[in-house]
């Protein structure tokens, strides 16, 4: 067989290892990649130099910091669950179904990506606020999400959802529906084929999308402060706490920022521990 590695991988379903394809990378890629990495790394290192390491433990374990971290983890987790529940069907519809104005729908789904988060918060306010489009219906049902933790989750879901849809949709489109077709000719109903074929095959993309959603929710600031407010233990997530601490205690703000980064790194590292997750062995 003299197939190119990637072609062969397609035919046989084998993965190509980076070592086998590195030879195709043009020479200018690496220096520019390093430049890009520095752009990200240098500010992180610079922040590390400003951390008051002697008091780091004290700074990140103050009651308000702990309350913010706890709240951030809870809300980001909840928002991530919502992103999975809503984003998976959205991605499947966009990748696998045809309907009028589909290009427009795809663009609209991605709007929260380009919308400045503060504007996103305003939009949420106009929709779900006490005087918003749906506010009347909500208060009729006795639901008041103003200044509640629910509002934080709503804001985080709003900004994070496009990451799930984008990641999954491109994976689903690249994957095609050939395996589902095979499953059907083997007698698998659509629901069974989805559970046993589609879901496992899109698992790596689902993990990636979930991690992105969680990271985005964890860092969400603008929409939350505009839409949900800021109260310790209720709506004041870590980014809001950082913003507030910056006014009075920059050391605490920097320490908390570092904590946020560590949390994010731990989660990303955990999710990408094996690049292909379940499908290995």
């Amino acid at each position: 067989m003299t197939l190119m590695p990637d072609v062969k991988a397609r035919v046989t379903g084998r993965r190509t290892s980076p070592a086998r394809v590195a030879g195709y990378v043009p020479g200018w890629v690496l220096p520019i990649a390093i430049l890009g990495a520095l752009l990200v790394l240098v500010p992180l290192v610079a922040m590390g130099t400003r951390v008051d390491w002697a008091n780091f433990g004290t700074l990140v374990s103050s009651p308000s910091a702990l309350a913010a971290v706890g709240l951030s983890l809870r809300t980001s987790l909840a928002a991530t669950v919502w992103c999975v529940l809503l984003g998976v069907p959205m991605a499947i519809v966009l990748a696998r179904m045809d309907f009028p104005f589909k290009a427009l729908a795809r663009t609209l789904v991605l709007v929260p990506l380009v919308l400045p988060p503060v504007v996103g918060g305003l939009a949420l306010l106009y929709a779900f606020g006490r005087r918003g489009l749906l506010g009347g219906a909500f208060s009729f049902l006795g639901i008041d999400i103003a200044f509640s933790t629910t509002a934080v989750v709503l804001a985080q879901t709003f900004v994070a959802l496009p990451f799930m849809v984008l990641t999954l949709e491109s994976a689903l489109r690249a994957q095609g529906a050939a395996y589902e077709g095979v499953a059907a000719t083997l007698g698998a109903r659509r629901g069974y084929a989805f559970r046993t074929v589609t879901l496992p095959l899109m698992w790596p993309a689902l993990v990636a999308g979930t991690v992105l959603c969680f990271a985005r929710a964890l860092g969400e600031f603008g929409a939350t402060i505009t839409f949900a407010g800021s109260l310790e233990g209720v709506t004041r997530t870590v980014p809001l706490e950082i913003y507030l601490q910056r006014e009075v205690d920059p050391d605490a703000a920097v320490a908390l920022s570092l904590l946020l980064i560590i949390i994010a790194l731990v989660i990303v590292g955990f999710a990408y521990r094996r690049p292909s997750g379940r499908s290995e062995r």
Partner: protein, 261 residues
């Protein structure tokens, strides 16, 4: 031989990068209002965000009276501005919304003259124009049914609100402690909150969407605005400081709702 495509790619990349940089350099900071008197001396004023409207007016009047001087404004939170000045930002004048932030600049030895108090401000209740919770006094805010938004105690407007609580003995249970007055005002303007505590000048600025309800005992929490020229500033800087404290400058500030020292 092998170098040509590489250097061409590098050239494309570098020139694209330069083009991007050049484009973004056209707008160094969006919230500075520059008056471009060509060839004249330029004074850079760092002023607290709450001073945006009156200071823009004052700068205009000042330039009319001093054609040789041009004023560039940079408005932001006082803490941000103080940090920037301490980190070496090229400010000539610093007008702070509180004395603590001015003190950090003084402590850094960066003021050319002792700061002068040029305006005062005091907290007030703000409610949506239709006042849905029928708030009439500060004591009404103790009612948990009234969704009240205040500034966090860590920021000056929150400290002022706490001072009023102490002075009046009213215990407010806010639904949100915001990081800035703007956020408090936004929650009230949108009707999300029933009431908020902001400064008198903020109500004047917010227009018809909200109404202010004066607080008995607000004088316990008067905020003073200090101004000072910065070390190594041009002589024009002190002229601007003097103009702000002159009757003409004070009149503009009074129009915006500020009190006089």
């Amino acid at each position: 031989m092998n170098l040509r495509p590489l250097s061409r790619a590098a050239f494309t990349f570098v020139s694209a990068a330069l083009a991007c940089t050049a484009l973004s350099a056209c707008s160094p900071n969006a919230d500075s209002t520059a008056s471009g008197h060509n060839g004249s001396e330029t004074i850079t004023v760092f002023a607290a965000a709450s001073l945006t409207e009156p200071f823009a007016q004052i700068a205009e009047n000042f330039e009319d009276e001093n054609p040789a001087l041009a004023v560039t404004m940079s408005f932001a939170g006082s803490a941000d501005l103080a940090t920037q000045i301490v980190e070496g930002a090229p400010a000539d004048v610093f007008a702070s919304a509180n004395e603590a932030q001015m003190q950090s600049v003084v402590d850094a030895g960066l003021t050319a003259a002792p700061p002068v108090i040029f305006a005062t401000n005091e907290p007030t209740i703000v409610v949506p124009a239709d006042n849905p919770a029928a708030v009439s006094s500060f004591a009404d805010l103790a009612n948990p049914e009234v969704a009240t938004v205040v500034c966090a105690p860590q920021v000056p407007c929150g400290a002022a609100e706490l001072a009023v609580e102490t002075a009046t003995g009213v215990d407010v249970a806010p639904v949100s402690e915001e990081s800035s007055v703007t956020d408090v005002l936004g929650k009230v303007t949108s009707g999300q909150a029933d009431a908020g505590i902001v400064y008198v000048t903020d109500v004047a600025r917010a227009g018809a969407a909200v109404i202010g309800i004066p607080i008995d005992g607000a004088d316990a929490a008067v905020t003073s605005y200090p101004i000072a020229s910065v070390t190594d500033a041009d002589p024009g800087a002190q002229a601007f400081v003097d103009y702000v404290t002159s009757p003409a400058g004070q009149a503009v500030l009074a129009d915006a709702g500020f009190g006089t020292p």
